[in-house]
């Protein structure tokens, strides 16, 4: 413990001495601050700021850092030292944040008497590299101290990890979200009051049930709930069918199926909706065809529940598939074989053995589908017709002609409570059963193949679905090559040329209008994806493998950012991170952060599902063999989690590229994202270039996914992934 604490102590001191405390112009890695680390009042380190530049409060808040150093030097008793470290580092963290909040850009907000004159009145800007280094060092000294007190079985890595994730979730989820939720309780004059909240909360526009007894539509909450349940169930079912086909049959076009299930997830928003309109809208191709040949009347049936439902099924089935494939693969063949030897037929084997073992996966897939549907606003916007849902209501409460952030916050609370409800139900359904199927016992059996009825069902649902997907996507590609999608279908390259032209005359110049946002998008997504995966899976590891106080609350809080509509998150990030101490608006960091913390729940869900299938004795074996928890994670858990990691990586990368609602408020001139560019074009009626851009994004993402699949590959548990062939003689098996 002492050694670990000393390392963090040294890092902290270096941070306070040699790194610029505040944000620096041009970025940390421009190193323009190096020369002025002591002398320049803008770029100086904390100690120098305090000593030479009148920022005396920095010295005060750094005293605890000195305190821990003294404790480490002079206290020999380990227990006592741990106690001191915990107390002093808590003081340190509190002081650093306190001074950040008290002294704003324009001077002190409270205790103004203390800060009279000079720098105190001048104010300060947001935390820079030095501040973050010191904060991290204090945090880890704190957790190391805790581990020294015997918490977390004395494992500094585990306690540190818990501390890190709790702090990150606290700062980047709770802190911003609380900013906006509090507005639900703000009266017209900014006073806090419950009356306003209850007025909004009990509005019949949210809870009305007129649809039950007359031809009106119901409240938005019921609409959202119904849609989310249908979407959750539908995507889980389709995802399961795809996963079963991919793992339990010898279907020939499996690979193609897999690609097909991936594509919708990598489709930029609005595109699916537009494609559906062109197919099934009142003047859509299918509608026209049916009208011309079968005299089916052209109607606007697509606009409303069915349109949104179909679009959401298309969009979210892949998520269910990604969650379920790992789970279905992970069900131990020997358990299926055991069932068969107990005279269970293939249907019984599936019904009573495989299916129950897939329960965590199914529950997680449903929960994700449910939440995605709740928070989705692209599809309802395009296809909603008069079927109003919470997410669009929230969006227009924020950006509409009559902005009402209180109403938006209230609606967000309604939405959140539904998500919380789904989450709790899921917990009840899963209960406390064990779902471990990857045990330390080498397992060499074969997966049971599906019984004919079930197989038939899987084919019957997936193949039409796959064909449908192919048609929708051919439409999209087609749309990018025609002059005016939906009207003038003469062939043209013009959209691609406008968006992605390259000039070779003097060197390579990317002259297309889309290049800027394209590069930004790719860079930011590639940074966000691995971070999301790491944070998500680390959280899953803590949730599945470690015991600590407040675990349930912790688990739900990680879901929070996912369950809140992106619009709300976007605005809350501006509210929270536009002013010191943490000032991030206008940077790429804020985009990365919003992606990491918005998408990490997928990593968490997938990780939990995959990890609850790993027998705990594997970790324990590693630990008793002398590996520490970090090595265990690296060498045992990570390799065995291949599919889950791949899924998390893929998904977070793709989500970062395709997400809209959160991003719209956070993009800045320097860091514009592809989706915001595409939406601008769609709003402007320039569908051609929007679709051409979307097509390029789809192709890009597809190549990245295939590359990832190639690099990470499959976990090697059994030599071959075998599926029983149903020949009459059971002898001749591969």
């Amino acid at each position: 413990m002492r050694k670990t604490a000393i390392i963090w102590q040294i890092i902290g001191l270096l941070g306070a001495l040699l790194f610029p405390w505040y944000m620096v112009q041009g970025g940390f890695f421009s190193f323009s601050w190096v020369g002025g680390i002591f002398s320049d009042p803008k770029n100086a380190s904390a100690f120098a700021q305090g000593l030479f530049h009148q920022k005396w409060w920095l010295i005060t808040s750094l005293l605890p850092l000195v305190g821990t150093a003294l404790a480490l030097l002079f206290i020999k008793n380990t227990k006592l030292l741990a106690k001191f470290l915990v107390m002093i580092s808590i003081a340190g963290l509190v002081l650093i944040f306190a001074q950040g909040f008290i002294v704003s850009r324009t001077g002190a907000r409270i205790f103004a008497d203390l800060f009279v004159g000079g720098a105190g009145e001048a104010g300060q800007v947001g935390f820079g590299a030095g501040a973050f280094v010191v904060l991290f060092s204090q945090l880890f000294i704190l957790t190391t101290g805790f581990s020294g007190l015997g918490k977390g079985r004395g494992d500094a890595f585990i306690v540190g990890l818990i501390g890190l994730i709790v702090s990150l979730v606290g700062v980047f989820v709770f802190f911003p979200v609380s900013h906006i939720l509090i507005q639900a309780f703000e009266g017209p004059e900014g006073n806090l009051g419950l009356a306003e909240f209850f007025d909004n909360f009990t509005s019949s526009r949210i809870w009305g049930v007129r649809c039950l007894y007359e031809a009106n539509s119901c409240g938005t909450a019921w609409n959202s709930l119904f849609l989310a349940i249908m979407t959750g169930a539908g995507t889980t079912l389709l995802g399961l069918a795809f996963a079963l086909i991919a793992t339990r049959t010898n279907f020939r076009a499996k690979r193609l199926l897999r690609v097909l299930t991936i594509i919708p997830i990598i489709t930029p928003p609005f595109v699916i909706g537009l494609a559906l309109i062109l197919l099934f809208g009142r003047s859509g191709m299918v509608s026209e065809f049916l009208y011309d040949h079968f005299d089916v009347e052209k109607t606007r049936w697509l606009y409303g529940f069915w349109g949104i439902y179909i679009a959401q099924l298309l969009s979210f089935t892949p998520i269910a598939f990604l969650v379920l494939i790992g789970v279905v693969e992970g069900v131990s063949p020997s358990m299926e074989e055991a069932s068969q030897t107990l005279n269970g037929d293939r249907w019984q084997t599936f019904r009573f053995v495989s299916f129950p073992l897939m329960r965590p996966g199914l529950a997680n897939a449903f929960l994700l589908g449910f939440i995605e549907s709740m928070a989705d606003f692209g599809n309802p916007l395009v296809l909603g017709g008069n079927y109003s849902v919470l997410s669009t209501e929230i969006y227009f409460s924020i950006v509409g002609a009559v902005a009402n952030s209180g109403k938006a916050a209230t609606l967000a609370i309604v939405l959140l409570s539904m998500t919380l409800g789904a989450f709790l139900l899921q917990r009840m359904w899963l209960g406390k059963k064990s779902y471990a199927t990857v045990t330390g016992k080498g397992d060499s059996g074969q997966h049971a193949s599906l019984n004919p009825l079930l197989r038939g069902f899987c084919y019957a649902t997936t193949i039409p679905w796959a064909i449908f997907t192919v048609i929708v996507y051919s439409m999209i590609v087609f749309g990018s090559f025609v002059k005016l999608w939906g009207y003038d279908h003469s062939f043209t390259f013009a959209h691609y040329i406008r968006a992605f032209s390259i000039n070779f005359t003097d060197g390579i110049r990317f002259t297309g209008v889309a290049w800027d946002s394209y590069f930004t998008t790719l860079t930011i997504s590639s940074i966000a994806a691995p971070l999301t995966t790491i944070v998500g899976l680390a959280t899953a590891y803590l949730l599945v493998r470690q015991k600590f106080v407040g675990k349930q609350v912790f688990e739900f809080s990680t879901m929070l950012s996912f369950a809140i509509p992106g619009t709300v998150i976007g605005v809350s990030y501006i509210l929270a991170f536009n002013v010191p101490p943490i000032e991030l608006t206008g940077t790429s960091i804020i985009l990365i952060l919003v992606f990491v913390f918005r998408n990490m729940p997928v990593g968490v869900r997938g990780g939990i599902a995959a990890m609850s299938q790993l027998d705990k004795s594997l970790d324990e074996a590693s630990i008793t063999l002398g590996a520490n928890s970090f090595t265990t994670v690296r060498k045992i858990i990570v390799p065995l989690m291949g599919p889950a990691i791949l899924a998390a990586l893929t998904y977070s990368f793709v989500r970062a590229i395709t997400s809209v609602s959160a991003v719209i408020f956070l993009v800045s001139a320097k860091h514009n994202m592809a989706t915001s560019f595409i939406i601008g074009r769609v709003e402007n009626g320039e569908f051609g270039i929007a679709i051409a851009y979307s097509t390029v994004l789809i192709v890009t993402m597809l190549s990245v996914i295939l590359l990832l699949q190639f690099i990470i590959g499959k976990r090697r548990l059994r030599r071959e992934n075998r599926i029983q062939k149903h020949t009459k003689t059971k002898v001749a098996q591969a």
């Binding site: 009559v402 005016l484 009207y487 536009n578 206008g586 001139a669 990832l708």
Partner: protein
């Protein structure tokens, strides 16, 4: 083991780009941070022209007016945007009322009356840049197929033959639709106006969220008739969609696009130069190059021939001061909810 290594490689590979932007503070000087709520091409072109003329570096991002207003509000304690250019005048007026923008003090003598009017009611905080006229569009092919007569007046839209054929946005979410609501109220008087709105409502197939959506739907034949701004319709028609545009015979309302400097802008001088530039005839004359067909606010600018011929149109005397105020707006919207009402 091997998998772990590969994973590590994959991760570190993706992390390579990270340091390059880590802890990069937002740039604050020597440039102009702009949010543009006009059409993307118009934004791009004006930025390029302005940079060439002044040498000021413009960092521009395009966002819709609602999004921009929400962002400006959220950022008000420490604004990152200097200037907001484009979009209907309504949200600009709201921003002015809420003190989110500041007066630029530019010379408005060359501007049309309606543009100066916008400046006056906002105490100079927002200045008119163009005029957009409210209109009705119909898809000629679908109309013919259905054997319907083209509408010519607001009153025509109440006819039973158009049942389920008209689309307009919801005034609660769309400024365009609010302009329509206020126009009808101003043309017919409030009580009569709401009766007409209710009758039109019988024919509406969908109240969309966004103001430009109905015309796009009309272009594709998803609806037959749409209500919206004419410059959106003209653009679609020029793109090739079979849209015909009508200015209602009883007279129609309009919006005036605005440009505003954000309160607390870090580059006020550059922002002011931008305002001066975009209200100049020289700048406004470039519009048609990128299919911008609204009426420019500078008297000396050439009005594009595709633009609605305002001289011959019956434009009402739109009362921005009254109908732009939040009390009137809230009252009218509450009445709209109660009497006309979205279906939910």
């Amino acid at each position: 083991m091997k998998t772990g290594l590969k994973l590590g490689l994959a991760f570190s590979g993706m992390l390579v780009a990270f340091p390059a932007m880590f802890f990069a503070a937002p740039a604050l000087s020597d440039e102009l941070n702009m949010v543009c709520s006009n059409e993307q091409d118009w934004c791009d072109l004006m930025v390029a022209n302005f940079e060439a003329k002044t040498g000021i570096n413009v960092a521009m991002v395009r966002k819709s007016t609602g999004e921009t207003l929400a962002q400006v509000r959220a950022e008000s304690s420490n604004p990152k945007i200097d200037i907001w250019w484009g979009g209907t005048g309504d949200p600009h007026l709201v921003a002015a009322q809420e003190g989110l923008t500041q007066a630029s003090g530019v010379d408005t003598s060359e501007l049309q009356d309606w543009a100066v009017n916008l400046s006056n009611i906002s105490e100079g905080k927002t200045i008119g840049i163009h005029l957009g006229v409210l209109g009705v569009a119909y898809n000629t092919e679908v109309l013919a197929e259905k054997g319907l007569n083209p509408p010519a007046c607001w009153m025509d839209l109440t006819k039973a033959e158009y049942k389920g054929e008209i689309q307009v946005a919801n005034p609660n979410s769309s400024g365009t639709a609010y302009t329509e609501l206020a126009t009808i109220v101003q043309v017919f008087g409030e009580d009569e106006g709401f009766k007409i709105l209710k009758d039109i409502g019988e024919n509406i197939n969908q109240y969309t969220k966004s103001g430009s959506a109905p015309s796009k739907a009309a272009g594709r034949g998803e609806t037959t008739i749409s209500i919206g701004f004419q410059h959106d319709m003209i653009k679609l028609a020029i793109a090739g969609f079979p849209l015909a545009i009508v200015t209602p015979c009883e007279g129609t309302g309009y919006e005036v696009g605005g440009v505003s400097i954000i309160a607390g802008a870090k580059n006020f001088d550059s922002a002011k130069k931008w305002v001066e530039y975009v209200i100049s005839a020289e700048a406004q004359n470039h519009g048609p190059e990128v299919n911008v067909f609204n009426v420019p606010s500078n008297k000396n600018a050439t009005i594009p021939k595709e633009a609605p011929p305002i001289a011959s149109l019956k434009l009402i005397d739109y009362d921005f001061a009254t109908y732009g105020s939040s009390e009137t707006r809230e009252r009218l919207l509450a009445r709209w909810d109660a009497e006309v009402g979205d279906l939910n």
